[in-house]
């Protein structure tokens, strides 16, 4: 089973990298990009076959390592 994890900055946390990317897009002529938020994408190959257990495992991984929950949110997708 595969888990796809998105780690993104929480609302209200300033994202200077996202701002710089938005600015760069604008200077390349891509108009109308109102905001960019940069995050991380991780793909995990899991031995677990039970979706419920896999989700619990990945959730624990996010809480302990993959995300810093002071500033980051995460979403888990199992495929």
């Amino acid at each position: 089973m595969k888990a796809r994890v998105h780690v993104t900055l929480k609302h209200g946390v300033l994202d200077p990298q996202g701002k710089a990317i938005a600015h760069a897009l604008g200077s390349l002529g891509f108009g109308g990009v109102e905001d960019v938020r940069q995050g991380k994408f991780l793909e995990l190959e899991l031995a677990e076959t039970d979706a419920g257990k896999a989700r619990e495992q990945v959730k624990a991984m996010c809480e302990k390592l993959l995300a810093n929950t002071v500033i980051e949110n995460y979403t888990i997708e199992l495929v």
Binding site: L14, P16, Q17, L65, N68, V70, I71
Partner: protein, 230 residues
């Protein structure tokens, strides 16, 4: 004072801080490898030095915070032992949860390497006892992720309990946004934990301990520790 300097793969200021400690306390600190599981017996102070542990993979300090030695460091802190994390060491402390908050990418998105001025916000700690209250000192910073952030509730507690140890300021001591090299919230450069035995700070006092490199303002931090933990 018996000090132990933890060396992670990618640490690079361990010798600087060891020299500063030796000069202040007349005792040579021990180097402890991150893969060790115990601190030397009788350790008073643990130092997490600056550098780029684990190449800053995932997040600065995230990997190092899970190193085997960190369990011993946490136990040491829980027993009331003193711990200081400088620069990458601060990032590791924050990732470990020994001090609150996080260090994000600098607002400028640039690596900043220059001298800054700091206001000593509390002298009520083993780390800052030799300074005068409100003293303005000059020490260098060298980092790309020093932009301190914590939620409002945490900030309120830090301020209320006098746990902001240092703030970036102008040469005249004014806490102005432009005096901050990284955009840190409320110009915070260093914070103490609840029991005041753990300090995390981004600037490098160990690199301002000799007149030949431009000043000795940083030496007083090590002098404070040598006196408090004699």
């Amino acid at each position: 004072m018996k000090a132990a300097v933890v060396v992670f793969p990618g640490s690079n200021r361990e010798r600087d801080v060891a020299l500063a400690l030796k000069r202040a306390s007349y005792t040579t600190p021990a180097y402890v490898w991150h893969g060790d599981t115990e601190l030397p017996a009788g350790t008073d102070l643990v130092v997490l030095p600056g550098g780029f542990s684990y190449g800053d993979y995932l997040r600065c300090g995230a990997m190092a915070s899970l190193s085997p030695i960190m369990r011993a460091v946490k136990d040491h802190a829980a027993r009331g032992g003193h711990v200081i994390g400088i620069c990458n060491g601060f990032q590791i402390l924050a990732e470990t949860g020994l001090v609150p908050g996080v260090l994000m990418r600098n607002a400028s998105l640039r690596f900043v390497c220059r001298d800054v001025h700091l206001k000593v916000e509390t002298t009520d700690s083993a780390f800052t006892g030799s300074y005068l209250p409100g003293q303005v000192i000059r020490v260098p910073v060298a980092h790309a992720e020093g932009n301190y952030f914590a939620d409002d509730e945490t900030l309120k507690r830090l301020e209320g309990e006098g746990r902001v140890a240092f703030r970036y300021c102008t040469e005249a001591g004014e806490i102005a946004p432009e005096a901050s090299p990284n955009g840190a919230i409320r110009n915070i450069a260093g914070v103490l934990n609840e029991k005041r035995n753990v300090l995390g700070m981004m600037p490098h006092p160990e690199n301002m301990t000799e007149t030949v490199v431009g000043g000795t303002d940083g030496a007083l931090l090590f002098d404070s520790l040598a006196k408090a933990l004699a």
